[in-house]
Subunit: 268 residues, 2 copies
């Protein structure tokens, strides 16, 4: 299987298209699912998702791997669980918990190997943010980029081509994603709405679910003032290309073209 | 003088760069300024601006033309005032008052002739919205376009190339402007922030003031779903080009290129 990432924008319904896609992308009925609750502050994180996946037909109960400390991220037993997985789901919470616990550990090395070997990685909210090499740790709302609007830190490193943001249109996060892209135009910004997934595989991004996936492309950026700003100042920029995909729409990264999903027309 | 429009995004300070630009663009010291309070519900609308312009050096007191009804928009005396003006300032308030009072009247015909003859037209907030042939009457906030997010009605008709929006980043109005542009890709969207002006003359747009001027260019739009939506549904679209100008930045409409204003570097 080709490496596949599934970034979910938070607030995933357990009875909808996003969960069904997660199920299918992680191996379906015979999938070997692992749930990483690391980002969450709740002791029961992942239990509802595990039950919902089983109700779709998943035969083996997902393993909720209790990694909450750097010590736990050394355990050989847990590394073997990662190595055996066909799909890994990262719970939401705070993405800095994920990186603070996992950075530099044998478990993260196992995660990165598993991804290269074809294990699907899905994350919701904080779990989506953390998938990439550079992640948005936190930031402020607003449609326009400003100095200080976003804090970046290294993420789990599964891709260095894109950067994900989540709760995207619900929390008006376009400004911070444009800021990142104007600063680092080689990164493709992907803003994922709630109860929606961006599925990234084989150079394509597909939107699944109720909301939108916004693509922020800085490859044609001709100029920006991000390097010259002081606190809270608005960043000027020239030429960011935007696309918004809804359920079934696909963006092709190499050609930078989108194919929108439309109502199927009857033959005329 | 070439026809000049100055769209101000509301909340104009009376001691800043936007008022000074208005003063200069309307003829400076010897300008013959007219203020149209029509959009406002306040009896004293325009008086503060008039005083502030005089404090900059304007010699003749601006004429505040009391046009509040369609009957008043027939008066020959007022038409002569318009014909004699070098600059006309439209107060804020509700842009639908402007069109409801002026549409189809001899006064509006005089306004359109005056613009063609080189009189500068400036408007703030509602007065900015109303400058174009098609104007945004009202709408909803949000960074993403949705069905029903915006209501368009005909404006005062001074340009059919662009459409202005105001209070732009302050009220998160990118979604509604993208909606307009995906629906009518030949219109260039210009979103103006508070206490900021977009000066449109000779095919160029210059930003003046404290905030930003956002350019929403749909000329490369390849597809959108705006025609297929139902109530509140998100609009998918492919390729909107965005630029954000700050004070001194210029966008050239024919070439679709922006030149950002930067800190002047010392010669090396």
């Amino acid at each position: 299987m080709n490496p596949t990432l599934m970034a979910i924008g938070g607030a995933m319904r357990l009875d909808g298209a996003v969960l069904a896609e997660l199920y299918a992308r992680c191996g379906g009925r015979s999938g070997r699912m692992v749930i990483l609750p690391t980002a969450s502050g709740n002791a029961d994180a992942g239990e509802r998702e595990a039950a919902a996946l089983q109700s779709l037909g998943l035969q083996a109960a997902p393993i909720i791997l209790p990694v909450r400390s750097r010590e736990q991220a050394q355990k050989d037993e847990y590394i073997r669980v990662i190595e055996n997985a066909s799909g890994i789901f990262l719970c939401g919470g705070n993405q800095m918990r994920l990186t603070a616990v996992l950075a530099g550990t044998p478990l993260l090395a196992a995660i990165q190997r598993a991804y290269q070997n074809g294990c699907t990685f899905a994350g919701t909210s904080a779990g989506a943010a953390a998938l990439s090499a550079m992640m948005i740790a936190y930031g402020k709302s607003g449609q326009a980029p400003r100095h200080g609007i976003v804090q970046l830190v290294p993420g789990l490193g599964l891709t260095d081509k894109v950067i994900f943001d989540q709760h995207f249109n619900q929390r008006n996060r376009l400004g911070r994603l444009i800021y990142v892209v104007t600063t680092t135009p080689n990164l493709l910004g992907i803003g994922v709405d709630e109860n929606t997934a961006a599925v990234l595989t084989e150079g394509q991004i597909m939107a699944i679910g109720a909301g939108g996936v916004t693509i922020v492309d800085g490859s044609q950026l001709s100029d920006s003032t991000t390097a010259e700003l002081e606190k809270e100042q608005l960043a000027a920029y020239s030429k960011i290309e935007l696309h918004l995909l809804t359920d079934g729409g696909v963006y092709d990264i190499p050609t930078r073209k989108a194919k929108l999903a439309k109502t199927i027309l009857s033959t005329e």
